[in-house]
């Protein structure tokens, strides 16, 4: 029973990890927070769904291509959010960045309602939902697929950050903004890139989770708070922390929902957030001092 809950918790947790990674990348690189992350997640799911089923004269694309379209759309949205909401308000203060981001999340949500309607659509399952039996536990191939893709995305991210020139520039900017600027790394370039990469991750998370739930314009607000909790749990701004925080949150949530009560499932995530912020604000793997959010 417990193992069962842990495994399905890990699947949803790996999706939380991707969203938390997006927050951590942006925080460590740009010292900003994208409060519209949840809506990037939602928009990517809708775009991928449209690409998958075809619209108007556009042909229906295979799943892989549809994922790519959704992720690219997410990264473009991230680029616009950075350049319109974050860069213009960076000197005015956090309050304005927050206001502009929230404006964006409303904009994306209402645009989605306008384009796709407010009722939501079913994302066709790509992988069989019928659980496999391994010993005494059941594992849905869907869950394995989600975990596999998330892991692949994280590995690609790792190689991008550590092996490529652009990734190195991003890490340099994250380590020390001023000195990176002095070394000729354009802030505007690395910041835009960070937002795009982060939005790719959030978008991918949206597409992965879409077959498990209904795709609705409101789905972003739920994942947005889960992503924040996961990021805070692992340590805001820490990359390994985001992965750990997401997985841990998924498992904790699933166990408490399974063993205690599912009606207070969403409150668990809020409670974890408040407790961590109060008693261990640097998170589980966070860097102490100086980097507090």
């Amino acid at each position: 029973m417990i193992i069962q809950l842990i495994i399905s918790g890990l699947a949803i947790g790996s999706v939380y990890s991707l969203v938390a990674l997006a927050h951590s990348l942006i925080w460590s690189g740009v010292r900003a927070v994208n409060f519209a992350q949840g809506e990037v997640f939602m928009a990517a799911a809708f775009v991928a769904l449209t690409a998958l089923s075809g619209a108007g004269r556009l042909p229906a694309l295979p799943f892989g291509a549809a994922v790519l379209v959704g992720v690219v759309a997410a990264s473009l949205i991230g680029l616009v959010i950075y350049n319109v909401a974050i860069r213009t308000t960076s000197k005015k203060g956090f309050l304005y960045a927050l206001g502009a981001c929230i404006g964006f999340s409303t904009l994306l949500q209402s645009s989605a309602i306008l384009i796709w309607g407010s009722t939501g659509e079913q994302f066709p399952a790509q992988i069989s939902m019928v659980p496999l039996r391994v010993g005494s536990i059941f594992i849905a191939p869907q869950d394995l697929f989600i975990m596999g893709i998330s892991l692949t995305a994280m590995i690609i991210l790792y190689f991008f950050l550590s092996k490529t020139r652009l990734g190195t520039a991003m890490r340099a900017a994250a380590q020390n903004r001023e000195v990176a600027g002095l070394m000729g790394i354009s802030h505007r370039l690395t910041d835009s890139l960070t937002f795009m990469v982060a939005s790719c991750l959030a978008g991918l998370a949206g597409i992965l989770l879409a077959p498990k739930f209904f795709v609705t314009p409101q789905m972003g607000s739920m994942i947005s708070s889960k992503g924040f909790t996961a990021a805070v749990l692992g340590g805001f701004g820490s990359i390994p922390g985001a992965v750990l925080g997401g997985l841990l949150l998924g498992v904790l949530e699933n166990i408490s929902a399974g063993l205690i009560s599912s009606s207070y499932k969403d409150a668990i995530s809020f409670l974890i957030m408040v407790l961590i912020i109060m008693f261990k604000p640097e998170g589980l793997l966070g860097v102490k001092g100086g980097r507090k959010a």
């Binding site: 404006g103 964006f104 409303t106 309602i113 708070s225 009606s263 957030m273 959010a293």
Partner: protein, 333 residues
């Protein structure tokens, strides 16, 4: 000397002129729909003043206003429907209960440094309140909400007509504006501002950050509770949907649009955000998209808020039309 005079006018006289102008609207039209929007606007003004005290004056970003608003609304609704208390007792009680919630949020918020965690902790509070409203069915009736919240009475007259609500709301708004102006001009208000500007220097002159931050949370929670109580009795029906994250966001946008750290700005912001969606109604399905775009534009391009932009415009016009000697005198002072 003159600049000081000018500032005095904005902080002490302008708010009452604004309320007076709104109170004159029924002379022109008694359209019930407009009255409805303006009553909501008045409730928003109270919420915006609360938001401005904590965020504008004390510099603590609070995205949990919906939680305090919900606490006020449900306290008032439960007291009047279950215990058949009068509105006039339920209103202060809900302010009190919301104030206690303010302590509950303010104390943990003290441990938090920096804006992001404060945003997260206050949103979590509002999120927890909403989960409780939805799940504690025996008390709150869950997603069904509470219906049949009685109208307040003054003497033997029940207040249920829009126009009566309009006058009642703006009377309460006027009292709150008066008290808020006194508060922000007092030693307490100056301490809030000192904390916002620099916690270290505020501490060095003997201002306790812990005490004043919690106090600011309590003040804003009390105002949100009062706004919630009025809302519950005005709407007569409340359900958890009305107190979601969007409401907290609305409170933030109100002060950004109206003017951060300004009581008259809160009046402008509150009424503007009640009216703004109505102006966009002609756009049909594009209404909410245009609304969101308008908010982004306002945040990015109106850093001082609508009110100060208006004041600046008036000053500019005066500079153009006044005699040159008077202008130069102003520049000297």
């Amino acid at each position: 000397m003159k600049a000081r005079h000018h500032e005095n006018f904005i902080t002490h006289v302008l708010p009452f002129i604004l309320i007076g102008v709104i109170a004159l609207v029924p002379l022109l039209t008694r359209d019930p729909y407009l009255m409805h929007i303006l009553v909501l606007g008045g409730i928003y003004v109270i919420l915006a003043i609360g938001m401005n005290i904590i965020t504008g004056y004390c510099g603590q970003i609070n995205l949990g206003m919906a939680g305090f608003f919900a606490v006020g609304a449900y306290t008032s609704a439960l007291l009047t429907t279950r215990l058949s208390l009068s509105f006039w007792l339920a209103l202060p009680t809900s302010a009190l209960v919301a104030g206690v919630a303010g302590v509950l949020v303010g104390v943990p918020a003290l441990k938090v440094r920096g804006g992001v965690y404060l945003v997260l902790i206050t949103t979590s509070f509002a999120g927890i309140v909403q989960v409780i409203l939805n799940q504690w069915v025996s008390l709150t009736k869950g997603p069904m909400g509470i219906v049949g919240i009685p109208a307040p009475a003054i003497g033997n007259v029940l207040i249920y007509e829009r126009i009566h609500w309009f006058y009642l709301t703006y009377a309460i708004v006027a009292v709150i504006v008066f008290l808020a102006i006194r508060l922000v001009g007092s030693r307490i208000g100056r301490s809030f501002v000192a904390l916002r500007e620099s916690e270290t220097s505020a501490q060095s002159i003997g201002i306790s950050p812990a005490f004043y931050k919690v106090l600011a949370f309590v003040c804003s929670a009390v105002l949100a509770g009062i706004a919630g109580s009025i809302y519950a009795h005005y709407m007569t029906t409340i359900s958890p949907d009305a107190f979601g994250f969007n409401l907290s966001v609305l409170a933030l946008i109100m002060i950004v649009v109206g003017g951060i750290g300004s009581i008259p700005g809160s009046i402008v912001g509150g009424v503007a955000l009640a009216l703004f969606p109505e102006w966009l109604r002609a756009l049909g399905p594009y209404q909410s998209v245009a609304y969101a775009a308008g908010i982004i534009l306002a945040v990015v391009f109106l850093p001082k808020g609508l009110l100060m932009m208006g004041v600046d415009a008036v000053q500019l016009i005066r500079k153009w039309f006044l005699a040159p000697d008077e202008t130069s005198e102003k520049e000297v002072s």
